[in-house]
Symmetry: C2
DNA sequence: TTGGCGATCTGCATGACATGCAGATACGGT
DNA sequence: ACCGTATCTGCATGTCATGCAGATCGCCAA
């Protein structure tokens, strides 16, 4: 997304007001590569501006996303994550600690759709017209590879919706749900 | 996933019980390509077995996912979707009607990760070890391409978290939120 | 076939995330 | 400095998902 100054100008030119809350969020998001959730951003914002409302954070994030200054993603870790990187990139998601990192993928545009049920349409598959392609690589980040304890103690393990094509790191054995 | 009969055997051999509720769900899921949500499955199940609990549907879906007979995905459309296709495939998601279709992608394993911040690790990127790759193509299915009214009237348009790399189909103009 | 242990089901409560609403407030052009 | 109106805050509401406890029933054993 653009700089806080540019965003302020843009907001004003759209008839939107530039409030201290918005300016703070502009700053917190600018060059932010941590893919924060709305609540995470709210926590940080609250430190610098006690009393700011979570509602306002959601509102501003929604506005920025609508303006194309921000992208929102749902990696199945519970809350939506926001990304000020508006370039064509993809994501690495650590299934142990929930960390998200940007990654650039060669040949993502050249992926060839194959198999299925019908005849390929003009620009897509079986009449489906593709507008965008999202690629998510799931695995373990460097920290969680080193730290064997990361398996259980961190936030997002288990089988949170947001599947994958091979059993993640949970033992695919028997469902454990005994209550002795 | 395997056939209802095989699943029954598998469940029993794991010390789990084969109840009528589970058998019904085995049947409803077998060869099901509609990627139902838990609630959608519950609705169908309720017809054939009035009184079945939504809680039981969630429980059984979780068990099947844990056993690797099912995958769960979150496409950002609100509810998690379940997919009995356990092969290596990817998804087409219609941003207008929410439909999900399986698709096979050539070269998905050969994607090359580029750019970023550090040195590539042994098997991944900057020490990140990739365990699985999920690719989601967003766009419009054949039905929604034909039907121009699909834009507004269907469930999942707007900007539901579950982003994309180009503005979806909403006008990226100014955030509209006037309450006259 | 009957008996009994324990897994499972159902129904409700609880929890995380997200959005609608209304009154008080403050931005920003005049 | 003034005023119209976009915003902010706080609370209520809504959706999806899971924890819990008592009643029920599958399934192994006698």
């Amino acid at each position: 997304m653009r700089s806080p100054a540019e965003l302020s100008t843009e907001f004003r030119s759209l008839g939107l007001k530039v409030t201290p809350q918005r300016q703070l969020l502009f700053r917190l998001l600018h060059d932010n590569t941590s893919h924060p959730s709305a609540e995470a951003l709210f926590d940080i914002a609250s430190n610098q501006m006690p009393g700011i409302s979570l509602r306002t954070v959601y509102q501003t994030l929604t506005d920025l996303a609508l303006m194309g200054e921000l992208q929102s993603f749902d990696f199945g870790n519970g809350a939506a994550r926001f990304d000020p990187n508006t370039g064509a990139h993809h994501h690495l998601v650590c299934t142990a600690c929930g960390e998200v990192a940007d990654v650039y993928v060669d040949g993502a545009d050249r992926l060839h759709l194959a198999g299925g049920s019908g005849t390929d349409g003009p620009d897509g598959f079986d009449g489906f017209v593709v507008a965008s392609t999202d690629i998510v690589f799931r695995g373990r980040c460097a920290n969680c590879c080193d730290d064997p304890s990361a398996a259980a103690s961190r936030p997002a393990e288990a089988t949170p919706p947001g599947g994958s094509h091979s059993p993640q790191f949970t033992d695919p054995a028997l469902p454990t749900r005994r209550k002795p």
